[in-house]
């Protein structure tokens, strides 16, 4: 764990796919300590990941975990929720998260169980505080400002601003070092990140990457990559190019700049092509 700002702790994830060895600890997760309570920000990728995070909270404070904020529904961020259920926290998510979990939750559980075994997979928790627009949670003299974004990385992205330290917890709205993975709208994602640049924050916690990065400078690489995909795919569509050629050629100039590039770029291009051909 690293304290990236006073009272803000981050456990950086490893840049790997989920394995039994890493227990799906591949995302940046952590917590924020207020005067009276703690908010967990993304409970982790598996039961073990969540338990380790919970132990890390207890090692530093005896204050209750009052909130578990889930930045979005991908398993590497939320399957550790099972480790926090006994604390009876308020599970917080984007208003669209509840419906998507009904639709995909079981699939995620099965897919993660394939890698970790069903007992180790953990489980998501249904959010009881659903955020539409903005919301605030008070940890005692420390207010966290939550924003529910229009479709970007996914269709249920939540960002958190700690005004006290000027720190933005972005979940997968921000990828650093590891190639961004698109599961929402590429145009929406670019728009939301552009809008967040004006937030009163000098530090950001990405969903994947170092535990904290300067803001907004750290968004430049991701914007360049996603913006490049949009530009090149639009040019290809205008020339009558097909999706298969796009997958083979678009984005390749960025290949050496991102980890796990070959695992995700093709899928990003596929998803973006489908979005942009209707644009």
């Amino acid at each position: 764990m690293q304290e990236v700002a006073p009272g803000i702790w981050v456990r950086p994830g490893v840049h790997e796919e989920a394995t039994a060895a890493n227990q799906d600890g591949i995302a940046n997760i952590g917590f924020i300590i207020g005067r009276d309570a703690v908010a967990v920000l993304d409970p982790g990728g598996s039961l073990a990941d969540g338990q380790a995070l919970r132990a890390a909270v207890r090692a530093r404070t005896s204050l209750p975990v009052r909130y578990v904020v889930m930045t979005h529904l991908h398993p590497d961020h939320v399957f550790g929720a099972a480790a926090f259920v006994d604390d009876s926290p308020v599970f917080v998510g984007h208003a669209r998260m509840a419906g998507m979990l009904v639709q995909r939750g079981e699939f995620y559980r099965n897919a993660l169980a394939e890698v970790l075994g069903i007992d180790a997979a953990g489980d998501y928790a249904k959010p009881s505080l659903l955020v539409e627009g903005t919301a605030e949670i008070d940890l005692g003299g420390r207010t966290l400002h939550l924003r529910a974004h229009p479709t970007a990385h996914t269709d249920n992205d939540l960002s958190v601003l700690d005004a006290q330290t000027g720190t933005l917890w972005l979940g997968d709205l921000l990828f650093v070092d590891r190639v961004p993975a698109l599961d929402g709208s590429i145009l929406g994602w670019l728009t939301q990140v552009a809008a967040l640049r004006d937030a009163p924050a000098r530090l950001a916690v990405p969903g994947h990457g170092p535990p904290a990065v300067p803001w907004p400078a750290a968004a430049d690489a991701q914007t360049r990559y996603l913006g490049g995909l949009v530009r090149d795919i639009r040019a290809m569509i205008a020339r009558g190019g097909d999706i298969e050629t796009a997958v083979a050629t678009v984005g390749q100039a960025e290949r050496s700049k991102w980890l796990l590039f070959d695992d995700y770029n093709g899928r990003n291009v596929t998803a973006a092509f489908k979005e942009l051909e209707w644009d």
């Binding site: 591949i26 991908h74 398993p75 419906g99 639709q103 995909r104 298969e244 695992d263 995700y264 051909e277």
Partner: protein
């Protein structure tokens, strides 16, 4: 189908579950049974020279696998023009993704579309030539472990756009009378199988998928498609046609709720 409604998830991109991959013998048996079900006892010959099927060996997104079918005019076998093509994804719950029948205004040359692939599977395209013979082409496709992009990223957007179409004719300038041309048709439609969940009510949304597509140039049919749930969301079909007269190109779509959509496109090349 498992692949439907399934998200891109970071970290779970790896191999398909062990049960998903069948042995070669099982694949061959399944194809034999499928042929029987679709074509009865009509012989289906290996189609080199008549039909070729191209698909990615490993799909980027199992809900959106692009395939290209190349057809030889006359087939090199003297069988005549190809009059219909069947597209089958053997391992899908509903393997017959679509039957494409060519009309008088068609140029049966290259056909492209996108299909859903539920598991590692053989895929087949079968052509019927003018003389009634059947020829097949085959590809093995690895769906990306079922962990693929969801059908509805924004359900509100999908519904507001339902039935809208785009047509892009290849090339520059006006079409030349009687000279073969190519176009890509996009139809906005969720094409779902009933496994989607309504975000608000948490009930299952009833299935709604495209059943028929008819493309005409003027009064002549270019292409008619009998489709099913194995066709991807927002179907995209690239086809050849021979323009006679001023057009326009008219597309009629019927879905499984009996909803009808029609759109006309004036015939100059370029996006419309």
């Amino acid at each position: 189908m498992k692949a439907l409604g399934m998200a891109m998830c970071i970290g779970l991109a790896a191999a398909a579950p062990a049960w998903a991959e069948q042995s070669q013998a099982e694949q061959a048996d399944r194809w034999r049974d499928l042929k029987l079900a679709v074509f009865g006892d009509r012989p289906v010959t290996e189609g080199t020279g008549v039909i070729a099927l191209d698909a990615p060996a490993r799909a980027q997104d199992a809900s959106l696998v692009p395939i290209t079918i190349s057809l030889s005019a006359g087939g090199g076998t003297g069988g005549g023009r190809v009059k219909a093509v069947w597209v089958l994804v053997d391992g899908n719950p509903s393997p017959l993704a679509g039957t494409f029948t060519f009309g008088p205004a068609a140029d049966p040359h290259t056909l492209r579309t996108r299909v859903r692939v539920d598991q590692y599977t053989l895929m087949h395209a079968v052509a019927e030539t003018e003389d009634g013979r059947l020829f097949s082409a085959e590809r093995y496709v690895k769906a990306a472990g079922g962990c693929s992009a969801p059908s509805l990223k924004d359900p509100k957007l999908a519904m507001s756009r339902l039935g809208q179409m785009r047509l892009r004719v290849d090339g520059e300038g006006p079409l030349a009378e009687g000279q073969a041309a190519s176009a890509q048709l996009l139809i906005s439609h969720p094409n779902n199988n009933g496994m989607q969940v309504d975000q608000v009510s948490h009930n299952f949304i009833p299935p709604r998928y495209i059943q028929d597509i008819t493309v005409r140039y003027g009064d002549e049919v270019v292409l008619s498609v009998d489709a099913d749930i194995s066709l991807s969301e927002d179907p995209a079909i690239t086809f050849g046609f021979v323009p006679h007269g001023p057009g326009p190109i008219r597309v009629d779509v019927l879905d499984s709720t009996q909803a009808k959509f029609r759109q006309e496109f004036p015939v100059t090349a370029g996006r419309s």
